[in-house]
């Protein structure tokens, strides 16, 4: 990212890369349509994007698997997603950048200093707090330290992936590192969560475009862009009609599975999972888990690893674990019932004494 002439605006970048105006316009149109914005917004996006100063982006990775970044960089329309990278000034990303060691530390410090108050911070991975944060350190600094230091000058934070959004797998029981999502640590900056394990690449890029052109998009209760997380997988699932008809696959190799019936009984978490998988799909729009015959795991939801008992337990199932205590409750109830009946019998015998008015001895029914 060191060219002779500093590319200040996005238009400079586009021109330099020989991206035609029509390609750019088409990108803006499809992005607007994709984000369910009014079509007239495409020209606004185009205008804003062309004018926009390339925002400085600092990309930090903590406890993560790099799957999110893989998802982003392996996205299916290289020209467009590359354009995203061209539209932003990725001033620090320890996975992608060539620099290492001291040079990389300096790059971060410089990026923060130069764009203080304006840069966008993208974070993937959760942050471990256990034992003073020793489970994730870079250059002798703990992840929590790096995060808090870097966040001070950020204009906003985009959490990419479920780990940074909600804690993800490091956060899962028993959470040995004391991992927490970014929102647990940074309370004073706008946070956009782009959850998923990993998130859909087009969702990441569109969120960035929205941020660059129109600012922070409308968010749901979990701070996710409503445009992509506004509906459940279940609502948009092509297998939904089978759910409504009560046609279910009961195992992965039965007639129902072969017929492509609903996977609810096999533990599909589609009804409680908010994501765009069913509409945007994966791998160049080829498919998504349900389409390839596997129930949704609910990976874009908080606590997805632990919350439903099992990936293969139906959503309707009770999460009560062992039923023994309930059986015991019935037993204890019976014992109390016996005692209650005994007390009643005793009381009725002792009360069955003659009354003062008239002798009443017989007590049969």
């Amino acid at each position: 990212m060191t060219t002779a002439k500093r590319l200040e605006t996005i238009e400079d970048v586009l021109t330099a890369n020989g991206v035609s105006r029509r390609t750019f316009l088409k990108f803006c149109i499809t992005t607007a349509s994709f984000m369910a914005l009014a079509p007239s917004m495409s020209s606004v996006i185009a205008k804003e994007l062309l004018k926009a100063r390339r925002p400085s982006v600092i990309y930090l990775s903590f406890q993560e698997c790099t799957g999110c970044l893989e998802s982003l960089t392996r996205s299916y329309t290289p020209s467009i997603e590359n354009m995203i990278f061209n539209m932003i000034s990725l001033d620090y990303d320890d996975t992608l950048m060539a620099a290492a060691g001291k040079a990389s530390e300096d790059a971060l410090a410089t990026a923060i200093k130069e764009n203080y108050g304006h840069y966008l911070m993208v974070v993937d991975g959760s942050v471990p707090l256990g034992n003073g944060g020793v489970y994730n350190t870079q250059a002798g600094k703990s992840a929590v330290q790096i995060l808090t230091d870097s966040a001070k000058g950020a204009a906003a934070i985009v959490c990419v992936g479920t780990c940074s959004s909600f804690g993800g797998i490091p956060f899962a029981n028993p959470n040995p590192t004391g991992a927490v999502p970014i929102s647990e640590i940074i309370k004073d900056k706008p946070i956009i969560n782009v959850s998923g394990c990993p998130p859909i690449p087009a969702v990441i890029t569109s969120t960035l475009v929205h941020y660059v052109t129109l600012g922070i998009p409308a968010l749901d209760a979990h701070h996710r862009p409503l445009a992509f997380y506004g509906n459940t997988i279940h609502d948009r699932c092509y297998r939904r009609p089978f759910f409504d008809e009560g046609k279910f696959a009961k195992s992965f190799d039965d007639e129902g599975a072969r017929n492509g019936w609903c996977l609810y009984e096999l533990g599909c978490k589609g009804p409680t999972t908010y994501n765009a998988c069913a509409t945007v799909k994966w791998n160049e729009g080829t498919s998504f888990p349900i389409e390839s015959g596997h129930p949704c795991l609910g990976c874009s939801e908080p606590n997805f690893w632990d919350r439903n008992g099992s990936f293969y337990a139906p959503l309707a199932a009770g999460l009560i674990g062992s039923v023994e205590p309930i059986g015991e409750a019935a037993g204890v109830g019976a014992a109390v019932g016996i005692a209650a009946a005994a007390v009643s019998r005793l009381r009725s015998r002792s009360k069955a004494k003659p009354h003062e008015t008239e002798k009443q001895t017989s007590k049969e029914e």
């Binding site: 209760a221 459940t232 279940h234 609502d235 759910f243 409504d244 008809e245 009560g246 279910f248 609810y264 009984e265 009804p271 409680t272 908080p302 606590n303 919350r307 337990a313 139906p314 959503l315 309707a316 199932a317 009770g318 999460l319 009560i320 674990g321 039923v323 205590p325 309930i326 059986g327 409750a329 019935a330 037993g331 204890v332 109830g333 019976a334 109390v336 019932g337 016996i338 209650a340 009946a341 005994a342 009643s344 019998r345 009725s348 049969e364 029914e365």
Partner: protein, 219 residues
């Protein structure tokens, strides 16, 4: 812990425990009370009387023709919402899965659209039942907290269930949580109120049937 997890997990577990505890307490506490030998010579022998008694367990569901003119409306209302409840509880796919997760047994289900129609009808009938309880002087005089609260918890489960299927009012998982919590509430209330009649109805009918039969009286 999320609300839905709480509803499906600890709340459900506690509710089921209270339900089993309370039901067995109340049933055992009733069943173990004193029995009196009936010393009068029966007109109809024990075996035949017992058979007739068992029969009454079912036959009382249909009123004697002599009474239908007066009771038909009330009984039709009462039985039809029960039938609706049974269909919705026993033949809605998620309910069958819930039962399967508890007892390991399952059976075929009905399509969701049919279930939704039946649930809406059942809800309407429950409203009619409440209206009748509030307006018919006999019922108004007879009713107590138990009657209204038992109606409330039953209707609440239906309403939250319908809201959850229609995604109406809140996010799906919140509605699901409400639905399951309202079911938990029903389970907890169950042993203490008149909902227990589900356990008492058949013994009660059969015993009355038996006593009438041994006297040779119609039942």
């Amino acid at each position: 812990m999320e609300l839905l997890e709480f509803a499906r997990g600890p709340a459900l577990k506690v509710a089921l425990a209270v339900f089993c505890f309370g039901v067995s307490w109340r049933l055992v506490g009733t069943i173990l009370l004193r029995y009196h030998r009936h010393l009068s010579v029966p007109r109809v022998g024990f075996f035949k009387s017992a058979m007739l008694g068992l029969l009454v367990g079912g036959s009382r569901s249909w009123p004697h023709p002599q009474f239908i003119k007066r009771t038909g409306y009330g009984e039709a209302l009462g039985y039809s919402y029960h039938i609706g409840l049974f269909i919705v509880i026993l033949f809605f796919a998620p309910h069958v899965l819930f039962i399967k997760s508890l007892f390991g047994v399952s059976w075929p289900v009905l399509s969701s659209s049919i279930i939704t129609i039946i649930a809406v009808l059942t809800f309407t009938l429950l409203l009619a039942v409440l209206f009748r309880r509030l307006t018919y002087s006999v019922l108004r005089k007879l009713s107590n907290f138990d009657d209204y609260f038992s109606w409330f918890v039953t209707t609440l489960v239906i309403v939250t269930g319908l809201m959850a299927t229609a995604h109406f009012g809140a996010r799906y998982e919140t509605l699901m949580a409400w639905h399951i919590l309202s079911f938990d509430l029903l389970l907890i209330w169950y042993p203490f109120g008149k909902l227990m009649h589900a356990f008492y109805i058949f013994p009660s009918r059969m015993i009355n049937g038996y006593f009438l039969a041994r006297k040779g009286a119609p039942s």
